[in-house]
């Protein structure tokens, strides 16, 4: 059994003429927490979408937990054990908190009814409460629709969704972008808990302090290419900024960007 949870080889995504992601070779060890940094439009979210089956890659290989995978859709990725907080939150505004937490994997009764199987509201509500309490998310009324919540609360719901379900890999795309000081600290605590539990994590973030606080390794993307792979101990904020802006390029990536 290898100790690698996720590996990509030559992962590439073109949107028509836009080379959003170009030949990304990426390795994540089990239990490792890695940050992905880079300017706006560098291809970070695109990278996340290729791994999670939201989009179909142009070319390249993805190996998850020892097997080459071709997720047909996000549910496949989820069932394989990848939980994701997407940058565009993927919440349904007109549904309430439990409905959103369990969207696409509802707890049900009378399953022989097929699409008309009954929802087990009570059980989903209880699990939701447990999940929110565990992650310390503050919601005044979980029966409120998402449309009635603040941006931060929405973000919290999306994060609670990933933390409620056991997984092998958690991916968060700018999870604290909209959050207040306390909520940000809360999310960072959730991430630390994941670390203690030995769960692997990919964190997309623009927040240098947060990245240095939380992760083991930093990957930098620039214009669709990976340009640096830095162990936290070997680098500092200024160094990372140099890679992000293009003042520097990692030795092994020379000629790439």
């Amino acid at each position: 059994m290898s100790d690698i949870i996720l590996e990509t080889k030559g992962l590439t995504k073109h949107y028509g003429g836009v080379h959003a992601l170009q030949d990304a070779d990426f390795v994540l060890k089990k239990g490792e927490h890695v940050a992905i940094m880079g300017d706006n439009g560098a291809g970070k979210s695109t990278f996340v979408r290729q791994i999670t089956g939201v989009e179909q890659r142009t070319r390249g290989t993805v190996i998850f937990d020892g097997d080459e995978v071709n997720f047909a859709g996000p549910l496949d990725a989820r069932e394989a054990g990848i939980e994701t907080v997407f940058q565009t939150l993927a919440l349904a505004d007109d549904l309430n908190v439990p409905d959103n937490l369990f969207l696409g994997r509802e707890k049900t009764k009378l399953n022989w009814l097929g699409p008309f199987r009954l929802l087990d509201y009570k059980s989903m509500r209880e699990d939701t409460m447990a999940g929110l309490v565990k992650t310390g998310v503050k919601i005044p009324n979980i029966k409120n629709t998402i449309a009635n919540m603040s941006g931060g609360q929405r973000q919290c719901v999306a994060i609670a969704r990933t933390a409620t379900f056991a997984s092998k890999l958690t991916i968060m795309d700018e999870p604290t972008a909209a959050l207040g000081v306390q909520e940000t600290a809360q999310v960072e605590n959730i991430i630390r808990t994941l670390k203690e539990q030995g769960e692997s994590l990919i964190l997309v973030s623009h927040n240098m302090r947060q990245v240095f606080d939380l992760v083991d390794r930093i990957i930098v993307f620039r214009r669709g290419r990976m340009v640096a792979n830095l162990r936290k101990e070997d680098t500092d904020g200024q160094d990372v900024v140099a890679y992000i802006t293009g003042a520097k390029t990692g030795a092994e990536y020379e000629g790439a960007a």
Partner: protein, 357 residues
């Protein structure tokens, strides 16, 4: 249930400030419209619209008029139940009226009697093998034709990504063409006696209300209902959550088509004949019922209960204008205003919700 089970992090939530359910607003509008007609009735006609002022009935209501109100909206109401689900997915179905027309012609052809007044049925579409068939045959044929039409709508919308407005507009024209081509414009008449029972008396109302209850339960308590709302609310989120959006949309459009097929069966049974013009502009009235009932054209919001009340509002207005002996044109003008008003209100609520976010 205690507040404890619904809030986290010590935030308080005042239950008395809970969101007012939209159906109550719609119901309030219904009551208001009834009151307006009662006042106008008292002033101009010296009579009540809904109440029994002449002591003709056992209850305090004018039962005859209540019955008329609900019977006249029941069949289009059945269409509206399907249209409601389509609109909740942020789609639209313009084809339901024409599908009623086509289905009416086709289903009726499978229910004709062999003999009329001692001679062979002069209107028979098919040969003797298809006459005097059991009543189940036309019912199944009718619902199947509706399902097929809905299936085509669904394929176009879900897999070809043709906008619902265009896909169902195409089906609307196509199905009307089928209705006219079927017997080259001739009506199809003389159904069997057992068929005539389906739409007799209060049967359309009973079927409409039973289906309304069924779909109310489905929309609120099943995965199908939850996914229907989720898709209309945020299709991308639904997809990212792993819902098979195209397959679900197929199902929604098929249910709408199947309901149109059933409505056609009931309508032909009630009228004892099928004509190619049947169901003309029913799709618009069905959409009106849903919209007046608070179903949002943006998707994600609305309910079966709302649509049923919307249907009653249309029924009351129609009966009310007849009661006041006002021409049908006034009624259409007023309905037009109400529909625009309902959508304007929805727009306003949508905007307010967006500002809060």
């Amino acid at each position: 249930m205690s507040d404890q089970s619904e809030s986290t992090g010590g935030l308080t939530f005042d239950k008395s400030k809970r969101n007012w359910p939209n159906e109550l607003n719609v119901f309030g509008a219904l009551i208001l419209i009834v009151i307006i007609f009662e006042i106008l009735g008292a002033i101009f006609m010296g009579q009540s619209l809904l109440f029994d002022t002449n002591d003709r009935f056992e209850s305090i209501f004018n039962e005859a008029r209540l019955r008329i109100i609900i019977i006249q909206v029941a069949i289009i109401g059945i269409l509206a139940l399907g249209v409601t689900q389509v609109i909740i997915t942020a789609g639209i179905d313009l084809s339901s009226g024409s599908v009623v027309g086509a289905t009416a012609m086709i289903a009726m052809s499978f229910v004709q009697v062999a003999e009329v007044n001692g001679g062979p049925n002069p209107k028979a579409i098919f040969g003797p093998a298809f006459l005097d068939l059991p009543v189940l045959v036309p019912v199944i044929v009718g619902i199947s034709v509706g399902l097929i039409a809905g299936c085509i709508n669904g394929l176009l919308v879900a897999y070809s990504r043709i906008p619902p407005f265009i896909a169902t507009l195409g089906m609307m024209l196509f199905a009307r063409g089928v209705a006219q081509w079927w017997s080259l414009g001739n009506p199809v008449s003389f159904p069997t006696e057992s068929y005539a029972k389906i739409g007799a008396g209060m049967m359309p109302v009973i079927i409409f209300l039973s289906l309304a209850v069924l779909f109310h339960l489905i929309m609120n308590y099943t995965v199908y209902g939850k996914h229907t709302y989720a898709i209309g609310s945020n299709e991308a989120a639904a997809r990212m959550s792993g819902i098979n959006v195209p397959r679900h949309l197929m199902l929604v459009y098929m249910i709408a088509g199947g309901l149109a097929g059933l409505a056609a069966v009931i309508l032909t049974s009630k009228n004892l004949t099928a004509q190619s013009g049947m169901g003309l502009s029913y799709e618009l009235e069905a959409i009106a019922m849903a919209v007046i009932g608070g179903v949002s054209l943006f998707g994600g919001r609305g309910s079966i209960i709302g649509t049923v009340i919307g249907a009653l509002i249309i029924g009351v207005i129609t009966s009310g204008f007849t009661f006041l002996r006002l021409g049908a044109f006034y009624q259409e003008m007023v309905l037009g205003c109400i529909i625009v008003g309902a959508v304007a209100l929805d727009q306003y609520q949508q905007k307010r919700a967006a500002m809060r976010a």
